[in-house]
């Protein structure tokens, strides 16, 4: 199987999630080995996911947990 760049892009997500069928995976890897454009697309997408998974990207408001448990305590108290 021989893939063009635009076909490889369709598989970027599946590739990162390790969900490609063996035949497709082999074709994508073969293409990536010789195509710097697609490799750059893959790397940039992967970097975005690394950044996304970093807890520090989304920070909790100061005092969030305290306020949450305070409000819960009031609701739980009433339920008893």
């Amino acid at each position: 199987m021989r893939l063009e760049c635009r076909h490889v892009w369709e598989h970027i997500s599946g590739y990162l999630d390790k969900q490609l069928d063996p035949e497709v995976l082999a074709a994508v890897e073969k293409h990536l080995a010789s195509c710097e454009v697609c490799s750059a697309v893959l790397d940039s997408t992967r970097n975005i996911l690394v950044l996304t998974a970093d807890d520090r990207t989304y920070e909790l408001p100061v005092g969030y947990s305290e306020r949450l448990h305070e409000r819960l305590a009031a609701v739980i108290g009433r339920s008893e």
Partner: protein, 231 residues
């Protein structure tokens, strides 16, 4: 990041239902972040997200006996959180705005990634940069809602495909399709900021279905930093 699975959860829930209601505080503690970030990423507003997170936890407490353990407790919570977020979003948004921001799945066309042939290794300090995280949050905010929902659950909260599908009430195939499109839209928006020196340029506003063929610039030299990191 996903909270660690609490192996005592089943017992906890049984005891709470039997009257030890105070234990509910401990039951939800590992998921405070999950619930807040899920709602925040949908609503893009801290105050609304915090209020929504509180309502989600209260709703979970009141409906705890309805949790049958068929899904994980975390997935059940996310489902409630997502419903809460959607409810608030509907309130805040007019139907007209809705139809503008959400092109139908059929006519969106291809999502062409941004191609950077002058891609370099990203120095770790660049990823630490506050500015870059801000860009990422802005880009996530710019995703149409249905893509943002899937991206938040899969790539921010790291739920698996089945859990994401269950929480959103859609099938796994649609989760895959939307996730791929969300990632490609983000790649297009963020690639310019992810270049070696972290140079900030105007990324332009990506519009679904209007992708151009990528431009080829400069010499290709790809770094293997992340590949090595991941292996």
């Amino acid at each position: 990041m996903r909270a660690p699975t609490n192996t005592n959860e089943g017992q906890f829930i049984a005891r709470i239902l039997a009257g030890e209601t105070e234990l509910f505080h401990d039951l939800i503690r590992p998921y405070e972040r999950l619930v807040y970030v899920t709602i925040f990423a949908i609503l893009k507003n801290e105050t609304e997200a915090e209020d929504g997170a509180q309502e989600t936890m209260i709703s979970a407490f009141r409906n705890l006996k309805g949790f049958r353990g068929e899904s994980k407790f975390s997935t059940w919570l996310v489902t409630i959180a997502m419903n809460e977020a959607r409810k608030r979003l509907r309130k805040a948004k007019t139907a007209a705005e809705d139809s503008l921001s959400e092109p139908s799945e059929e006519n969106e066309g291809d999502f062409t990634p941004a191609v950077l042939t002058d891609w370099r290794e990203i120095p770790l300090e660049a990823l630490e940069r506050k500015e870059l995280k801000e860009k990422l949050r802005e880009a996530v905010n710019a995703l149409p809602e249905k893509y943002r929902e899937v991206f938040v659950l899969r790539d921010i909260e790291e739920l698996n495909q089945e859990e994401t599908a269950a929480a959103l009430g859609i099938n796994v195939t649609l989760v895959k399709v939307r996730l791929h499109r969300a990632r490609m839209m983000l790649q297009k928006m963020l690639a310019p900021y992810l270049k070696g020196q972290g140079a900030v340029q105007d990324a332009g506003k990506p519009v679904a279905g209007q992708s151009k063929m990528p431009e080829t610039r400069g010499d290709a030299k790809r770094g293997g930093f992340f590949r090595r990191w991941f292996q």
